[in-house]
């Protein structure tokens, strides 16, 4: 049972807004697109899937990549599987990604080095994620540091 998400639809609603902002961001977006990869995030509880395409030309103007909520046909270069709650805390900056892999909380496969390169790039979004939750009226989902 997820501590934060009611169901898959709830998760997609939040990540839709968040990723839209991140991939439009003039500072973060170009750096992400330089990774030139397709990443698939597989979440459990609620089971869901998000694919971020940083390889093909963006589908929408003003964005530096394209994301797909739910299963899609794109073949990923790298995948990462974790609980939705872990991901939620990660985007707050409260989960050490190396420790998460070491302890098996996150499973990964494919071109992991490309994913590693994205870590410093996405770090500035850790401040933005809680703000987005507030903007969406989900202030109760903001996680406080333990």
């Amino acid at each position: 049972m997820s501590e934060y998400y009611r169901d898959q639809e709830h998760l997609y609603e939040i990540y839709n807004y968040f990723l839209d902002q991140v991939l439009r961001d003039e500072k973060i977006g170009p750096k992400m697109s330089r990774a030139n990869i397709i990443i698939k995030f597989i979440y459990t509880d609620p089971d869901s899937e998000i694919t971020i395409d940083l390889k093909n030309p963006p589908a929408k103007a003003g964005m530096y990549g394209t994301f797909y909520l739910g299963p899609c046909d794109l073949k990923e270069d790298v995948w990462s599987k974790q609980s939705a709650d872990h991901s939620h805390r990660f985007w707050h900056g409260y989960e050490n990604p190396i420790a998460a892999v070491t302890r098996g909380k996150v499973k990964q496969g494919g071109k992991i080095t490309a994913m590693l390169k994205l870590l410093p790039v996405v770090k500035p979004t850790f401040k933005r994620f809680p703000q987005i939750l507030e903007e969406m009226g989900y202030g109760d989902m903001v996680v406080n540091k333990r």
């Binding site: 050490n96 990604p97 190396i98 420790a99 998460a100 892999v101 070491t102 302890r103 990964q108 992991i112 080095t113 590693l116 390169k117 870590l119 410093p120 770090k123």
Partner: protein, 624 residues
């Protein structure tokens, strides 16, 4: 004896006599091998009054029990002695190909004393040990010497060589294996140079290692090699080298910039990362013997001021020491500087750190051009830094001579105010991980390390990064880098396991994939130590204690377990900006957990006796 050969070579360069002697089995069981075994040998046979560069000084090369067993990560060896850089006990570890060759020749180690009347090199094979004249090798670089020895003894001859830096007594001169892998730290190249010993070459025989439980080891080796080969660590290090996560380190404040005055420089992170090295200069990947990780780089810079021919490339420490630390983000320059240091036989960490100290001293007008014969160093001026390296290696000119003694000695000669620009522990320049961002536990680890500023004496660095934890001993804590929370306890575990790794001469990258029960199985199936996890950890702690006792006999006390203000003051920018390291409290708690005397810095008599060090206890406490 199982695993180990039980035999070492003793060489007296004064008389030219060599002999093969056996070591008691208890030495191995109690002190594991490598730097632990070397410490025990020195304790029993070393001359504590000897200057590190005198003929009486003892230089010890020692293998671990796993050398040559075709296991990823297990082909390292140790060298140990009183360090000419710090005046304390020092040891250094090196991968490559020498340790297996020495094992296959039938020996666990080499102990060298005396000074040859003229340059010499030592040749070892299964049948004999001979000292040979090295007049024609003296003055050559490490690769020239390696090539000359291979030309004479065949291409499978494995070599340890020193370069001009070792010959001229540079106190951070290194010893190179195959002109690529380095016994980098603490200046043992200078010890060889002071002994007129230019090189050691081994022609290995047929591998003949007697194992305690060959069937069990065969299964274990297969499992461990597979674990290492398939790990994410291997994948990342193999593809991008040891600088793989440099960018991530920059954003966390782990990478020291401009002599530790800054903790964030985004463009530098992008420019110097392993990815950039692969894209721009990589020509190949190399590994140490039998290792599937292949973290070593081969590079070529085609043109420009830093052009270098295809050959060994820089690792993380070199990239930062000759990049961020000197205010440069020129990756080609790090390739060149690393190569020049390798050829001259100088430790890149201490060389870069000493140049960084000099730059700040000049910047602050504490070191004038009159004192440097007109040489002016400025942040990022890589041609000037690289031009200066041969002068340091040969002690040419006032600045070359000054910097050849390392940053702390140079600061003392220049003026005590410039000690404020040093970053070291016990005189050993700190490696390229800044505890203020990389992890506060690392500050404690640097300070309590017997050899000084060292990130591999303990496992604190990977523990704080989240790359390892030890559920088998109920050490399951999530360590948050930028606090002191749980760090004293973590330091105890990190110290014990670090001592085991270093005594086993095992690579810290490969070790991340090996669990503690597997470690126990390794020691037992190879060497028959008959350990469990508890007794293995006790052996690790015993090694740490013994090294503390060695330092005590060199006059070091608890007061020496500290760091200079530069490393403890709150960072000025980046992620760790303004955060204070709670150093003294961490240290006091660690001392309590380890039973260390708060003044002397050594374990109490009772603790030493409990760790089967009663004779050592008598020496330090009866005379105290």
């Amino acid at each position: 004896m199982f695993g180990n050969t039980g035999k070492i070579i003793r060489v007296d360069l004064e008389s030219g006599r060599t002999e093969i002697v056996s070591l008691p089995e208890a030495y191995y069981r109690n002190f594991i091998g490598g730097s632990g075994l070397a410490a025990k040998y020195f304790w029993e046979h070393g001359d504590f009054s000897a200057d590190p560069l005198s003929p009486e000084a003892m230089l010890i090369f020692m293998n671990g029990p796993l050398a040559g067993l075709r296991l990823s990560g297990a082909s390292r060896g140790s060298v140990a002695a009183r360090s000419p850089l710090t005046g304390n006990w020092g040891d250094s570890s090196c991968g490559g190909y020498f340790a297996p060759a020495l094992r296959y020749a039938g020996f666990d180690g080499i102990v060298v004393t005396g000074r040859a009347s003229s340059p010499a090199w030592l040749h070892i094979d299964e049948k004999r040990v001979t000292l040979r004249a090295a007049d024609d090798l003296w003055g050559k670089t490490t690769s020239e010497t390696d090539l000359a020895l291979k030309a004479e003894n065949g291409r499978f001859c494995r070599t340890l060589t020193i370069g001009p830096a070792g010959e001229h007594g540079v106190r951070y001169a290194n010893i190179m294996n195959e002109a690529h892998h380095a016994f980098g730290r603490a200046g043992f190249g200078a010890v060889m140079g002071a002994k007129n010993l230019k090189a050691i070459a081994v022609n290995a025989g047929k591998p003949q290692v007697r194992l305690a439980d060959p069937e069990k080891f065969a299964v274990l080796r297969k499992t461990l090699n597979q674990q290492v080969r398939e790990s994410i660590t291997s994948m990342v290090l193999g593809e991008l080298g040891t600088a793989a996560k440099l960018e991530y380190g920059v954003c966390n404040g782990d990478v020291p910039i401009r002599n530790w005055t800054s903790s964030f420089w985004e463009e530098m992170g992008e420019a110097l990362t392993g990815d950039a090295l692969s894209e721009n200069y990589l020509t190949g990947r190399k590994s140490c013997a039998f290792c599937s990780i292949a973290c070593k780089r081969m590079v070529k810079v085609d043109d420009g001021p830093f052009a270098v021919a295809d050959g060994p490339g820089p690792e993380y420490e070199t990239i930062v020491a000759f990049g961020a630390l000197l205010g440069s983000m020129d990756l080609a320059a790090t390739c060149k500087a690393g190569r020049v240091c390798n050829e001259l036989g100088m430790d890149t960490i201490s060389a870069g750190a000493t140049l960084a100290w000099a730059t700040e001293a000049m910047d602050q007008e504490a070191l004038s051009e009159e004192e440097t014969a007109g040489i002016r160093l400025q942040w990022g001026d890589m041609p000037a830094y690289i031009d200066l390296l041969p002068q340091i290696a040969r002690r040419r000119g006032p600045l070359g001579d000054l910097l050849a003694d390392g940053s702390v000695a140079a600061a003392r000669k220049t003026g005590d105010q410039t000690l404020a620009y040093t970053a070291h522990s016990k005189g050993l320049e700190a490696p390229m991980h800044d505890p203020r961002g990389g992890g506060h536990g690392l500050a404690l680890a640097y300070a309590i390390s017997p050899r000084g500023g060292c990130h591999v004496a303990t496992t604190m660095l990977p523990m704080e990064a989240g790359a390892c934890y030890y559920p088998e001993i109920e050490f399951d804590l999530d360590l948050e880098p930028m606090t002191d929370r749980d760090k004293p306890l973590a330091a105890v575990v990190a110290t014990e396991i670090g001592a085991i790794e270093n005594s086993a001469c095992f690579c810290q990258f490969a070790d991340r994939e090996i669990t503690l029960p597997q470690w126990v199985d390794l020691f037992n199936s190879v060497a028959g130590y008959d350990w469990n996890i508890r007794t293995m950890l006790r052996a690790g702690r015993r090694v740490f204690y013994l090294k503390r006792l060695l330092n005590f006999r060199y006059g070091r006390t608890a007061a020496d377990d500290t760091l200079p203000p530069r490393m403890l003051e709150p960072a000025r920018d980046g992620e760790p900006q303004g955060i204070q390291i709670n150093f003294e409290e961490m240290k006091a708690a660690f001392y309590g957990l380890m039973g260390l005397d708060p003044q002397k810095g050594i374990p109490s008599r009772k603790v030493l006796e409990a760790y089967q060090l009663p004779g050592e206890a008598r020496v330090v406490w009866d005379n105290a």
